[in-house]
């Protein structure tokens, strides 16, 4: 019995990582209706930036966040203003194609720069440390990851509903023309949204790299998990995204418990079941 409880706890904590994968994707879709196919590759890019930072400066991956977050944020702003804003319009196809192209470019650039060898970030003793709760042994790193995910989602939620930036995000999301009339430059607002999304992606990438090994081709898998977490939770709902990540994580660990080969498949099945039963996700944003 405790094995199953252990699997659920592990799955819940793993869901925190998936929620971090998904939060940036959800934010971007919510603000500008842009589906970023390169999102998974951006997570992997952040992991590699973390790798370079740890090697160059000889610091712990968590300290490397201090460099990777602003780099990814700045890259997001430039990417949005320089390329993605030009693709936005009534037709949803151009952003899909352009971010797909960006995904290919990122993968090949990482392959060129870092080779295809799998890499891992070394965070030291925290990776293997654990605490015992009743008969369960819970890893510090998954626990920390989950706590960071909750903090990030709460932070995003606070930005969205309690700051003028969040007000601008919601206004532009509601009606771009009228938001412009209020004096908001939507190109800048979209740039800030992408910067924020990629800052979150930086955290996701570093935690990914500390948890497991990564290689330049790993973006696709992360994109799928991120998509599934967003869809399960309901589009546009940040807490829903966390719930979606947790459900995906639990499905995977329980699937893996039944048969190790079922781990990934069980997650996809859980996603399909939710999609079939509640196509809008479990916690869709209330539409007025």
């Amino acid at each position: 019995m405790s094995e199953w409880i252990g699997a659920i706890v592990q799955g819940t904590l793993l869901g925190g990582l998936y929620a971090l994968f998904a939060a940036g994707l959800s934010l971007i879709f919510g603000v500008m209706r842009l589906v970023n196919i390169a999102h998974g590759d951006l997570i992997v890019l952040a992991a590699y930036l973390g790798l370079s930072t740890t090697i160059l400066l000889g610091v712990n991956p968590f300290v490397a966040l201090l460099a990777v977050i602003p780099i990814m944020g700045g890259f997001g702003y430039v990417l949005q203003r320089g390329i993605l804003n030009r693709t936005l319009g009534p037709d949803i196809l151009p952003p899909l194609l352009v971010t797909f192209g960006l995904s290919v470019i990122l993968q090949n650039a990482l392959l060129e720069g870092y080779t295809a060898d799998p890499q891992k970030l070394n965070a030291g003793a925290v990776e293997t440390a654990s605490i015992g709760v009743a008969s369960l042994s819970i890893g510090i790193l998954p626990l920390l990851t989950f706590a960071i995910a909750v903090a990030v989602i709460a932070g995003l939620q606070w930005i969205f509903y309690h700051t003028s930036l969040g007000r601008a995000f919601r206004a532009v999301s509601d009606n771009q023309d009228i938001a412009q009339l209020m004096g908001l430059n939507k190109a800048h607002v979209f740039g800030l949204a992408m910067a924020l999304a990629l800052a979150v992606t930086a955290i996701a990438g570093i935690l990914l790299g500390v948890r497991t090994s990564f290689d330049p081709a790993g973006g696709g898998g992360r994109l799928i998990f991120a998509f599934e977490a967003v869809i399960i939770g309901g589009l546009g709902s940040l807490w829903g995204t966390l719930a979606g990540g947790v459900i995906l994580g639990i499905a995977q660990t329980i699937g893996g418990k039944i048969d190790p080969g079922w781990q990934i498949l069980a997650g996809h099945i859980a996603f399909l079941v939710v999609l079939a039963v509640r196509p809008n996700g479990l916690f869709p944003r209330v539409s007025h």
């Binding site: 003028s164 007000r167 601008a168 919601r170 206004a171 999301s173 509601d174 009606n175 023309d177 009228i178 938001a179 412009q180 009339l181 209020m182 004096g183 908001l184 430059n185 939507k186 539409s287 007025h288």
Partner: protein, 236 residues
């Protein structure tokens, strides 16, 4: 004669191949209130969209304080002091009443209007400040739309179809509030289908017909017959 605030010079506006405005010339002086009347499809909303920057034009077709602004984006036009109360209110559904109003002050221009003074003008909004903007009645939504534009402390305020779809009692209360708004030195352009209401608050009137100005004059000088002829393009 007071200073010219806005001047339209041979303004032409297009939606793709369709031309919606033809050679519109118009001048507004500071502190003036003018009415734009005309039937559906006459080009009134296009005129508002052009001035506010939602529809791009030749830069020199629209002069604001002598500066060409026809090619500016809507947010740049807002920054220089032109606000639009759009047709159909167009509040942000994700934002509360207060958030809608606060968004209006994004441009942060100095002036008499603040959240408090808007609440003074429309007290009902103060009670509803944390409600979702879409939960309000049409008239209250129009109050938010007007308040939101005032929060920018504009020098020129454009009202597009200010009374469309509202109950007569609400229209009256909104028109009652107008003198208080324009007495703050604001220049206003009021687009309206209710001719009597429009003429009651304006000093000059322009009638648009099929994208062209078919009549202009001082409100007290133009006759009912002339307006009818200009409005419908037929003799009364």
């Amino acid at each position: 004669m007071s200073k010219t605030l806005l001047s339209l010079q041979t303004l032409n506006a297009h939606y793709g191949d369709f031309q919606a405005l033809y050679n519109v010339d118009m001048t507004l002086s500071e502190g003036e209130v003018i009415a734009i009347i005309g039937a559906n499809g006459a080009g009134k909303t296009t005129l508002m969209r052009s001035i506010s920057g939602l529809l791009k034009n030749d830069a020199a077709a629209i002069l604001y304080r002598g500066t060409p602004i026809g090619a500016l984006r809507a947010d740049e036009v807002a920054q220089i002091g032109i606000a639009l109360v759009p047709e159909g209110r167009q509040l942000f559904p994700s934002l509360s009443v207060e958030e809608n109003l606060r968004l209006g002050s994004t441009v942060a221009r100095k002036g008499p209007w603040s959240l408090d003074s808007v609440f003074q003008l429309f007290p009902i909004l103060k009670d509803r400040r944390s409600q979702a903007s879409t939960s309000l009645s049409g008239g209250q939504q129009q109050m938010v739309a007007i308040g939101r534009a005032l929060m920018a402390n504009p020098d020129l305020i454009l009202f597009d179809e200010i009374s469309l779809g509202l109950a007569p009692v609400i229209i009256k209360s909104i028109y009652d509030a107008l003198p208080g708004i324009v007495s703050e030195g604001m220049t206003a352009m009021i687009v309206e289908q209710d001719i009597t209401k429009a003429l009651s608050v304006s000093s000059r009137v322009f009638c648009l017909q099929e994208g062209r100005i078919s009549l202009e004059g001082n409100t007290e000088d133009v006759s009912r017959e002339a307006i009818t002829k200009a409005y419908f393009g037929v003799g009364a």
